[in-house]
């Protein structure tokens, strides 16, 4: 019985041929990929790949550092110009205050002399 089922399975599993169309396409495809056609070469060999990685990483780090430094300097420049502007505003206010004081003094002196003249009369 075991042999019977085995022979039945063998009969059911006889190898089948692919269609002629597929067979032709397969042959064309496989053969077109040969013979000894040089495979696309990598730009770098396997041993050079870690070095390239380090170079790329270093370049990226340098770029990030340069951008950081530039931003820091720009920030400092803006801060300095802000301080300078503040200083100028304060100076202007001080001068205005001085002028106003002078004007006030002048007005005050003038009104004092007028009062004296009127009382002398």
């Amino acid at each position: 019985m075991s042999q019977e089922i085995e022979s039945r399975i063998r009969a059911a599993l006889r190898p089948v041929a692919p269609s002629e169309d597929f067979s032709r396409k397969l042959l064309a495809r496989v053969v077109a990929d040969r013979p000894g056609r040089p495979k696309p070469r990598r730009l770098l060999s396997a041993s050079a790949r870690p070095l390239a990685w380090w170079l790329t990483a270093s370049l990226a780090a340098c770029l990030i550092l340069a951008v950081g430094v530039r931003q820091h300097l720009e920030q400092q420049r803006v801060q300095q110009s802000g301080l300078e502007a503040r200083r100028q505003v304060l100076e202007a206010l001080r001068m205005t205050s001085q002028k106003l004081n002078l004007a006030y003094q002048a007005v005050k002196n003038q009104s004092t002399s007028l009062t004296d003249e009127e009382s002398g009369v």
Binding site: M1, S2, I5, E6, R8, I9, R10, A11, A12, L13, R14, P15, V16, A17, P18, S19, F22, S23, L26, L27, R29, V30, V31, D33, R34, P35, G36, K39
Partner: protein, 188 residues
């Protein structure tokens, strides 16, 4: 394949390794039937089988220098085909049903046995787990020894034997069940 044919194919292999297209074509023609049949019965549809067959032969292109003889080539092709098919089946959530169009693809030109029984046996085959299916196909379609199958599938020999034993028992029981049902149908 007899010894003379094997020697001839060994020569073709040497020439193919040297880059001769015609020799490679001979090798593809000599092995495509086995690769396609394995792929078809593992995966269940003609489209998937054709894709896998093509992938296997394209992979061969990159590994031709590592192939030592025509016998080694046959072993390599069957191993790659079955392992890739098992991987595909494991990725697939469910087994695809065979379409009516594909059903014809399972029959060989020299089939003269009971087509209903053959269909039934192939259905039973598709119910097996992928590794058990691969073992059964390599044993009864490719006529390989359990030792070769174990080596091909990286499987202990006892696992191969137990797969064969269990699969045969299941198929025998279910085939007997089908035949008795048919006898009852014909008697009524």
């Amino acid at each position: 394949m007899n010894g003379g044919a094997l020697d001839l194919l060994d020569d073709e292999l040497a020439r193919a390794r040297a880059g001769e297209r015609a020799a490679l074509a001979v090798l593809v023609q000599a092995h495509q039937r086995a690769v396609y049949s394995l792929a078809l019965r593992m995966l269940g549809t003609r489209d998937l089988a054709e894709d896998l067959t093509q992938d296997v032969f394209m992979q061969l292109n990159g590994n031709l220098t590592a192939i030592e003889s025509n016998k080694h080539l046959g072993f390599w092709l069957r191993r790659v085909t079955t392992n890739r098919a098992i991987d595909q089946l494991r990725r697939r959530s469910r087994v695809q049903m065979t379409s009516l169009e594909d059903e014809q693809a399972f029959f060989s030109a020299e089939d003269d046995a009971d087509p209903l029984l053959q269909r039934h046996l192939r259905d039973l085959l598709s119910d097996l787990s992928p590794p058990a299916r691969a073992v059964l196909l390599l044993r009864y379609q490719e006529d390989l020894d359990p030792t070769d199958i174990a080596q091909m599938l990286d499987m202990p020999i006892n696992t191969v034997k137990s797969h064969l034993k269990r699969s045969l028992e299941t198929m025998r029981e279910k085939t007997l069940g089908m035949q008795s049902a048919r006898c009852e149908d014909s008697s009524t």
